[in-house]
Symmetry: C2
């Protein structure tokens, strides 16, 4: 592929607006194949994926998510509310209909370290889609039961995230990151790593 | 790098035995740089990393983890116990001293979607270490408070995982995975993806 993981992780961004350009289903299946090789607690592989391409199902999923979001936005307070407003976010989630595909990520509730395992797999997916030139967003609906009902999923599974997949039409600025010198310590909390390395360049 | 994410995810395995071959700290910092570019809830970047290279600290961390594991192994039952025994696992965690480095992953408790974000970052780390030819394991101690005390971490942070890092000396067989046809559906739960694609090859 020629690109390193540092390239991919630098280029990736969370995308909330998509073009109507075609996406190859095989590229999505590639990313899910990569994800399926992630480690998991007791190798239970607690992830399941529903790929949604049908317009009517996308519409139902969007409506279900927006019902939950409306409740959140009516009740959220403090720093999180400030952050939401600063990002221009609202209860409306048009990307759930505009993206050519949605990947709904479900988790087997009873599995050991289920959430940890599923989110490692989501990390794999984010990078694998980027490798294929596709954009996505790890969207976590405020109410995860509403959209789940539209997919006929059994009760032993919980919805963890919805990943819209498509080509980016999102021009909002890239979010910044802390320097490694703020997040990485040597041997004990607070012991700095050598300065030259801390720039992470 | 020449390798695709599918190559890396196929080659990666969870490693519990390490050689004493030298590891470059810069390769670990590379993986943490990659991880720091992961998305996170409200961009809070709730991850912190303590790289442990000091032998005495490794010993303290190992002892703290084994205290928790002993309690687990004395009390575990059912399918999980069977799985542990089938894997030849016990309360002993020699890799915590044998690996040249440990990366202790901490999570800011108060952050939105803290666990989800931290485990996406761990997914990034697993792949980035593999890219550098290094092996690791996403080890989750049974008691996460014990090892935390050895690192002087503040109370607002929780230990999520310890990643030993080194060169593999582990010859146990690779774990198998479900076919995509068992884990991926189209539009609704239970609708199969086309057969040829489901092999994921």
């Amino acid at each position: 592929m020629g690109k390193t993981l540092l390239d991919l992780s630098k280029e990736r961004r969370s995308v909330r607006r998509y073009t109507d350009e075609n996406v190859f289903l095989d590229d999505i299946l590639y990313a899910l194949k990569v994800a399926s090789l992630a480690p998991s607690g007791a190798n239970e592989q607690p992830w399941r994926f529903v790929i949604v391409e049908d317009d009517n199902t996308k519409k139902l999923v969007r409506e279900a998510c927006e019902r939950g979001e409306r409740h959140l936005y009516d009740n959220v307070k403090g720093e999180f509310k400030k952050w939401l407003l600063s990002q221009g976010l609202s209860h409306e989630k048009p990307f759930l209909e505009e993206a050519p595909y949605l990947v709904v990520v479900l988790m087997k509730r009873s599995a050991k370290y289920a959430r940890e395992s599923v989110w490692v797999a989501i990390g794999y997916i984010l990078l694998a889609l980027e490798e294929k030139g596709l954009s996505t967003l790890a969207y976590t609906p405020s109410n995860t039961d509403y959209p789940l009902h539209e997919l006929d999923a059994p009760t032993g599974f919980k919805l963890e995230a919805i990943l819209p997949v498509g080509h980016s039409d999102d021009e909002s600025p890239r979010t910044s990151r802390r320097e490694l010198s703020e997040t990485v310590f040597m041997n004990k909390w607070g012991n700095l790593i050598p300065c030259a390395r801390a720039t992470g360049s």
